[in-house]
Amino acid sequence: MFVARRLVLAHFWLAFAGFAGAIVLGEWQMYVRSPLHAWLDNPEHYYRSVTVHGTVMAYVLPTLVAMGLGYALSELALKRPLAGLRWAWAGFWLVLVGTLMAAAAMASGHASVLYTFYPPMIASPFFYIGIVLVVVGSWIWVALMSINLRAWRKENPGAAVPLAMFGNVAGAYLWAWTSVGAAIEILVLILPVALGFKDTIDAGLARVFFSWTLHAIVYFWLMPTYIAFYTLVPRAIGGRLYSDTMGRVAFVLFLVFSMPIGIHHLFADPQIGAGFKFVHAAMTAMVSVPTLLTVFTIVASVEIAGRMRGGKGAFGWIRTLPWENPMMLAVAFSFVMLGFGGAGGLINMSYQLNESVHNTQWVTGHFHLIFGGAIVIMYFMIAYELWPQLTACAPLPARLVRVQLWLWFVGMMVLTMPWHYVGILGMPRRMAYYDFTAPALQAQAWTVTVSAVGGAMLVVSALVFLYVLAAARRGAMSPEPFTFSLAAHPVGRVPPLLNGYALWVSMMIALTVVNYGFPIAQLAVLKETSVPAIPMGLR
């Protein structure tokens, strides 16, 4: 790397420090509402904790990881120093200040509205302004990724953009557009009320804007993981990437289809017509295409590794895979969790099946499995992979890393499977406590205890992760040059369509306008749906 070492480290440390705090809160939540603990004396403490946990895990952690990885990739993949280092630091400081501001509002109990905001509940303006600062910081990153790619193109006219950078910039554009929904919600609808200029707010419209962000944000979280699948995994396990083109196809499909589907979060909402609900459901099916393609490509790439190591027969290659290699273990765990989580996602998407699990504990199980499981386990691997580059440390202890990954995988499964189960029974989300003495709930009590145990394993895993990173001996040896996966068949000329974004970004914007334009426009002109704001945090 050239100049971005400290910058990337700063992003990762801030991300993982927030992650450590938030995961402890998550486990605390599971513990206090399980039968192991008496009811909290103050239920608001529970919701306060949920707000912090969600805000850090959904906004701060993935944004910082994507930013840090993006800066690293633009040096490692483009092989040129990061342009705009000062701006990048400015973005980092904005994220830091925003995080601290939101944290202060949440910690003081003036923002217990959860990370999903839910107007007409209105929290302290500092909470929203803090989140806006985090997002604005990340917009600087988006601009820098674009600028760095452009500079590289100028130096390498007509060359194929390295796949890692191609995915990275796709993720940046995806984020730029998806964050617009929540940005409008906060800046136009919520902040005027939080600052006292208005008494009313359209709760239905706010939910529509939020859904624009809330589903596609998942694909923003996912981008670093998919970049790791395509460009790190095959190399790390001694295989070849089956197809470079498929990687590009997957990234551009995410750009097109991740946005105009968010209304599937609103299947049970009364402010959206059935027609748009169906269109969004059908397009949600389309967004599983890039994931299904990725599953094929990565499994095939892993198979290549197995065969290169002497594996024979239909399944013999599985045995010869380098299972002692943490990356191998991580990608296997990630795929198992992606499989379960994805299957659950298909159920949520099918709008009739959704009725029986909508907004129950099932949903919590689903997104923890996908995000906390499949995605975050690859964040760990990204950090482990980059650490020698960033700190010039000695090789990380593989054994401890394997223990950490096992704990994360088992912990996440133990945490989320009971949630799926009780969700089907109808257990609601986000309750500070349940009366397990009631006959209707008694049978569910054990599941919460099991989840609390799973959560404890996750906390231990997170601590091991931080220990491995912190204990790495800095400057022990100079890092080897960083490499990315090689394709099984050398990448020749990439079709211009898959070497740029113009068409895909246009499709992304056009489809968003088609799928969101009418619902937003018509709710925005409805005057009578502006309802009184309910300020939170009055004592």
Partner: protein, 181 residues
């Protein structure tokens, strides 16, 4: 055939498999939508949450279950911090029941345990959906959306009685509930 051509052919086959999977999933949604009449709650209807209690469909006297002379069963209810009104809903078994509900303050929602009755309640909008409760029994009906610091206390109940018993209790056109008064 070169190795690369083999690889591309395998990829193509998989892409077709993916297309089929997606097509089947969407076809299932369309099929159930057409033949089982199962659609998400979808009517858009607005209402002013400030004056719900003074007059109109969601004034207190209109809440509860009614049986129209044509045999249509309608449950009207509101959600507020931190209870549903009525707190206990009385419905017949085996008959389509139409719910009409809204919120007087923040976003709420409810799910009836062990059934598909599940909706969000957004202030300013009326949620309408129709469902059938197959068997007689009692279900819990919690609020399933965070609605403030008393959310954990927002539990209602649904009592499903036989269609005959329901007709006896609601036959005279009055509104009924299972709240003990």
């Amino acid at each position: 055939m070169s190795a690369e051509a083999v690889a591309i052919a395998a990829e193509r086959r998989w892409s077709w498999a993916v297309a089929v999977v997606i097509a089947v999933l969407v076809a299932m949604m369309v099929f159930t939508g057409l033949h089982w009449a199962s659609m998400p709650p979808s009517r858009v209807e607005t209402i002013d949450p400030r004056t719900l209690h003074i007059s109109g469909e969601f004034a207190e006297g209109n809440l509860g279950t009614t049986l129209s002379p044509q045999g249509k069963v309608v449950v009207r209810l509101i959600a507020q911090q931190y209870s549903f009104e009525p707190q206990c809903l009385l419905v017949p078994a085996g008959v389509p029941v139409t719910f009409r509900a809204t919120s007087t303050d923040v976003i709420h929602g409810f799910v009836v345990f062990g059934t598909n009755a599940n909706t969000m309640l957004i202030p300013g909008y009326v949620a309408t959906f129709t469902t059938t409760f197959p068997v007689v029994g009692e279900h819990m009906m919690p609020c399933h959306e965070y609605c403030g610091t008393g959310h954990e206390g927002m539990w209602a109940r649904v009592q499903v009685v036989s269609a005959d018993e329901f007709r006896t209790r609601a036959g005279n056109g009055s509104r009924v509930s299972c709240v003990r008064r």
